[in-house]
Subunit: 356 residues, 2 copies
């Protein structure tokens, strides 16, 4: 089986660590390794490096290649321009078929955090078995921990009998980012999972679905397929890809396809959407402080300190997110890190591009 | 008249800006100029640079000389070792007498902040007139703004008739650092000022008082006086000064002398005892934030941001003191900056001497 890691993210939510030149998945905010290094390490017991493809944009490719020396150069697929997840996945599927094989592909975001890795791999194994046996689009669902409004909600339908231990359901409906009342209704009713953005299917299966629901994209992919491995590959990919419409695989395919299955799982998942999310998943010491770097506290509680290079002293403070970088410092009330975007907007407005 | 600026302070209360190598008076925390530069500029309309003496310790002398290029080199008096204010003032008095003149000396701390400079100079002028006319020890009193327990309280006695506009009183008693109840009593009773540590007297007057109340110190000063201007000056000062007992002019002389006068004044005084005090005296913008450096706020209130070199973004925070330096960052709840000492203690205990 193959793994396709989508590493096209930009993300200003981890400012000042994340910058235009350094998106979230290339940051070491979780520990020693960067997030994409963690993502690769996590699937290595399932997939050897020769079968791990990483799709990324031009501007971050060099750093990504540096961070993943074990991935062969030909497995790094560079999009000339970002066109959301459907073209990205289509491109990866072509590359898999071009290797003369129609195997299952695990499609994985590059920038999530998984706490229980072995459980996670069991779910992926189960999903791969189901996908290999037929023409299903399998998605991994996350058991909701609250009425979050930022995720897609997958409604489970009838269970599908399988040989394995994992529970598999038909997908009855997918509802993107509901309002709070609806999200609460979903939770009360039960049988809903969050859409994790992780998908499992055969390369031929997803291309067939793209042909049906995104024919323009499919036309473009055919052109690229012809050029793969030829002298004209680079040029054709650039012109064809650039002309594609950006569309997500969720909206473009998943919400329309017939044979969509979900395997709900619970494995300490976080999409690491903000500094608040990082505090939530970080190991904490005394008084619930999560600290990276040298620090001294005189009564500090429930703080995140992310300061790899500078000593931080906290005196009498609580519920702060403190992020130090060589040229910018963020101090944010815990629970308000969504508003870090506003800082980035203000920097743009004031033309302080060095900090972006 | 002469001015004697006492610049022997160390001070860890402005950590991380203040360090062993950079005490408070050498910091530019008030604005463009350092505190001692402000202190000198403030008295320049009263005293020309040739008559301004600065007493400092060996370890900070080089930086101080660099900061005060207008002060002649021979006016920088370097104490071989700190022995509190009485020896420091005695040494300065010797130097004034050695110049063949027995003039009034204004004795001033190097590290205070004065808001209303012209009012301040008027008080000093009045004090100098009184001191020049007789043998009084004149001290400048500060009208108390609250029952602070960290200051000395001077009780005013009978008024002394003068020609000028300033009100001059005999000092009835001096009470160092009373407890809160007593301080409140003083305020209720009225007729008390804080001891500002600023004194005005003739050089011969203070030396006569030292002879009476601190005879050992006087003996030492006589030895130094003989050596001044000779080849042996450096050696004699080093050995004699080192053998002196440390004693403050308040405890050693002021509390015992007979003819002590006080001129109370109100001129926006602060002893800049902590980062909280700096916030108090700093000009504030919208939402009472006092900012030094580049910053962006998404709802921030009543914060001090002191970050000359790094952009600081605040999101949803209030009542914080934020101080950034190249190697250390302090974030302290407003009102608790006295506890910054505890950070310095912790650094000492952990052997993190680079930050001291």
């Amino acid at each position: 089986m193959f793994a396709v890691i989508m590493a096209g993210g930009k993300g200003s939510r981890f400012w000042p660590r994340s910058r235009e030149t350094r998106p979230k998945h290339l940051l070491d905010i979780l520990g020693e390794r960067t997030i994409i290094q963690e993502t690769v390490a996590r699937i290595r017991p399932l997939v050897p490096p020769e079968r791990i493809l990483v799709v990324t944009g031009q501007s971050h490719a060099a750093e990504l290649i540096r961070q993943l020396p074990e991935i062969p150069a030909e497995n790094i697929l560079i999009e000339p321009v970002g066109r959301n997840t459907a073209p990205c996945i289509g491109l990866a599927a072509l590359h898999i078929l071009q290797r003369g094989t129609d195997e299952v592909m695990l499609v994985l975001p590059s920038d999530h955090r998984i706490g229980a890795e072995e459980t996670f791999r069991q779910i992926l194994r189960a999903a791969a078995e189901v996908a290999a046996a037929g023409k299903a689009l399998v998605t991994v669902g996350i058991r909701p921990t609250g009425p979050e409004t930022g995720y897609g909600y997958i409604e489970q339908g009838d269970p599908v009998p399988t040989d394995g231990a994992a529970k598999v359901y038909r997908v009855r409906s997918i509802r993107e980012k509901p309002d709070r009342a609806l999200a609460e209704q979903f939770l009360q009713k039960g049988g809903f999972s969050w859409n994790s953005g992780m998908f499992v299917w055969k390369a031929s299966t997803i291309l067939a679905e793209i042909r049906q629901f995104l024919p323009d994209l499919h036309q473009g992919l055919l052109k690229i397929q012809e050029a793969l491995g030829t002298d004209r590959e680079e040029e054709i990919v650039a012109t064809t890809y650039g002309a594609l419409k950006g569309v997500s695989i969720d909206y473009g395919v998943m919400e329309k396809a017939k044979e969509v299955l979900v395997i709900p799982g619970e494995f300490g998942w976080s999409d690491l959407g903000s500094w608040d999310a990082l505090w939530e998943v970080s190991p904490k010491g005394e008084k619930e402080n999560a600290v990276r770097g040298e620090w001294i506290a005189v009564e500090a509680k429930r703080c995140l300190v992310h300061s790899p290079e500078k000593l931080v002293a906290l005196v009498g403070v609580e519920d702060l997110l403190v992020v130090d970088t060589p040229d910018a410092l963020l101090i944010c009330r815990r629970g308000r890190s969504q508003e870090v975007r506003k800082v980035v907007e203000a920097l743009e407005k004031r033309g302080l591009t060095d900090y972006l």
